[in-house]
């Protein structure tokens, strides 16, 4: 036997072993999707499923703008192409009408479709894998109770090879393990329930974790990262200088998630949508549990990427002071103090001094309202400045608010403004 033959044999064996391992990791879940009872129809189960769907914000993605709820078709932009969300109504041909409860569970827990295909992880089965079988069955009962809507959903438009089953199998081997919540014996029941809601149902780390080049992450990580495709930054929930809430009173955490605004911070951008569609419906008990879990997270002082504030304000920031007086002070106050209950303060505001400036630029350029919620039904609005001020003016105002009233953050350059303007230009059409 020549050396070459041995090498070839070894390669073949390795390939076979690798393929077998991939098959085992991806397809050997042992769920029998054929044997299943029909979905539960008792009101309590359906209602429980409806609650989980709401606070898990399923419909935000599984509904097209202006479309029938849960009938899918919303385009989700990813770095790998566009994914279209599936129809979750019980239509037999285009929805989940022919699915069994076991098939639904396999999708949530193992990330496989009813026909056995590996699902694209834009569907956060990396998180829903933590859901209990009872909660999965409740969700299935809820979606099965909706009016069936016949709606074909477009095929994903992913660049090769990202949409292939082989690529998904490799990705899953790297980033996905089906399983339940890691048991933390020392944690209180409240913290455990909070962990279940944050890590599982509400899948917070889908945005609040830093994803790598392949879109993978450590799904228990909540240390913040840019949200792919949106131009917003999901701040760290463990860093005190970002959006960590370790020193917040429980009531303020609950207030933010329920109303969209607390005394210590407000939700804007994608988080405003999460509050509007999802967290505002959390029960008081679940809000308390989420707060308990978030406060129990070990504080994580991520290395500040921000440079120390320059010793003296440049001309950019000084020029911004005058513009601030003309355009911003009427609402945010001469000293950046804001108006309680209406306009957030800018002095000492972490959203203003965050080293990642994209959220600040988004708000300044596009404005927006806080979410209209049951406890805060008439939110106030911020005007857009994208048409009124040029890049240098916006940079100078933002540089001013990042360096005034004790704020010490690096200035914003006109180039930063230009880049955000161009990145979001499609949104203006």
């Amino acid at each position: 036997m020549t050396v070459l033959r041995r090498a070839l044999l070894a390669l073949a064996v390795l390939t076979l072993v690798g393929a077998a391992a991939l098959w085992h990791l991806n397809f050997n879940d042992g769920v029998d999707v054929s044997a299943s009872a029909p979905p539960g129809t008792d009101a309590a189960t359906v209602q429980r499923g409806a609650y989980l769907a709401r606070v898990g914000n399923c419909l935000a993605c599984h509904t097209a703008r202006g479309g029938v709820a849960a009938a899918g078709g919303r385009a989700i932009a990813t770095p790998f192409g566009t994914v279209y969300t599936s129809n979750l109504t019980p239509d037999a041909d285009t929805g989940i009408g022919h699915w069994s409860a076991a098939a639904f569970w396999r999708a949530l827990h193992h990330g496989r479709s009813a026909d056995g295909r590996l699902l694209n992880p834009v569907f956060p089965y990396t998180h829903t894998t933590l859901l209990t079988r009872a909660d999965s069955d409740a969700l299935f009962a809820y979606f099965s109770s909706l009016p069936p809507q016949r709606q074909h959903v477009a095929a994903h438009e992913l660049r090769w090879p990202y949409g292939t089953q082989a690529a998904l199998a490799v990705w899953r081997a790297l980033y996905f393990r089906p399983g339940g919540l890691a048991a933390d014996a020392a944690a209180s029941d409240s913290v455990k329930r909070g962990a279940y809601l944050v890590q599982g149902v509400a899948h917070c780390s889908a945005c609040h974790a830093r994803r790598d080049a392949l879109g993978g992450a450590d799904w228990r990580d909540l240390s913040g990262g840019p949200i792919p495709g949106l131009g917003w930054y999901a701040p760290s929930l463990v860093a005190p200088h970002e959006a960590g809430v370790g020193d917040w009173p429980d009531a303020e955490i609950a207030r933010l998630l329920q109303s969209g605004a607390s005394r210590l911070g407000v939700a804007s951008g994608p988080m405003a949508e999460v509050v509007f569609q999802g967290t505002q419906y959390l029960t008081a008990a679940d809000l308390a549990d989420v707060a308990a879990y978030l406060k129990a997270l070990p504080p994580h002082d991520a290395p500040r990427t921000a440079l120390p504030a320059p010793p003296a304000r440049t001309r950019l920031a000084t020029a911004g002071e005058k513009l601030y007086g003309q355009k911003c002070a009427a609402c945010h106050g001469e000293q950046g103090e804001g108006v309680p209950g209406a306009y957030p303060p800018l002095a000492g505001n972490r959203a203003v001094t965050l080293s990642h400036t994209q959220n600040l630029l988004q708000v300044m350029l596009h404005g927006g309202f806080g979410p209209a919620t049951a406890t805060r039904p008439r939110p106030f609005g911020m005007p857009p400045f994208i048409l009124e001020l040029n890049d240098a003016e916006i940079a100078s105002v933002l540089s001013h608010i990042r360096t005034a009233w004790g704020n010490r953050a690096p200035e914003v350059s006109p180039l930063d403004v230009l880049q955000m303007r161009q990145a979001s230009s499609t949104g203006l059409r």
Partner: protein, 249 residues
């Protein structure tokens, strides 16, 4: 008599001082008030209190338009039947109740209209005559109803949800007709305006827009209490509308 004038200097100073103080207070920002005007400052940044041109197009007036019409447009932007990214982002996380309240707020504002801006090149008289005919009588031969059939005899709109057509810039009007033709702008099905625009030729669109943009707005620009009765010689139009929270406006 100098002693009679002696009081003048200190009083002058006092008057000047009071005026200065008043002026300083007036020049400052309006104090915070917990009302809808405060809440909708984000809207008038572009629309003004009467609507005004912006650098990338025309922002239509909001004041005094029928609440139902404004509400429909807010819903249409949120739900993707009208397309303007900046506007969609504004209303994305607002619910039907609040959008109706915003619509009612602007519907209740009365602000005078400025006289129509003279066009750079006045349209020919025959074009304006055709525009006037289309607006007031329609064209039965082309199955075109008159604008006035829905938008009111005075073209100032009709309650609850038909907008007025006067006091709008020509470019804005033309852009809306274009948007309806290409499907960029839509209303709830059945979309009556879309069906009219499909039958409108380019020449007729230009004619009616030219005529409309030149009409002064009457002193009382309030919308008619209801849509005018249908004339026997015009086609019937069914128009869709979304469900409104807690009944019609």
């Amino acid at each position: 008599m100098p002693w009679l004038d002696a009081w003048r200097a200190p009083v002058r100073l006092l008057v000047c001082g009071v005026l200065w103080l008043l002026g300083a207070a007036g020049a400052g920002a309006a104090p915070f008030q917990d009302d809808m005007a405060q809440r909708t400052l984000a809207c008038i940044a572009c629309h003004g209190e009467q609507g005004r041109a912006g650098p990338d197009g025309y922002y239509p007036r909001l004041a005094g338009k029928p609440a139902g019409y404004l509400y429909h447009q807010l819903i249409n932007f949120r739900d993707g039947r009208r397309h303007y990214g900046l506007m969609t982002r504004m209303v994305d996380v607002l619910n039907d109740d609040y959008l109706m309240e915003i619509a009612r707020h602007f519907a209740g504002l009365q602000a005078p209209y400025p006289p129509p801006a003279p066009p750079a090149s006045p349209p020919p008289a025959d074009v304006l005559a055709r525009g006037r005919t289309l607006a007031q009588q329609g064209d039965a031969g082309r199955r075109l109803p008159a604008c006035a059939q829905c938008h009111g005899q005075r073209l100032t709109g009709a309650l609850p949800d038909v907008p007025g057509l006067l006091g709008l810039p020509q470019d804005y009007l033309m852009a809306q007709l274009g948007g309806w033709r290409t499907g960029q702008r839509r209303a709830h099905a059945p979309d009556c305006m879309a069906s009219v625009v499909q039958r409108l030729s380019d020449r007729d669109a230009y004619a009616v827009v030219s005529w409309l943009a030149l009409q002064p707005v009457p002193a009382d620009a309030s919308p008619a209490p209801e849509r005018p009765a249908r004339r026997a010689d015009t086609i019937d139009l069914a128009c869709g509308a979304p469900l409104t929270p807690r009944g019609r406006p």
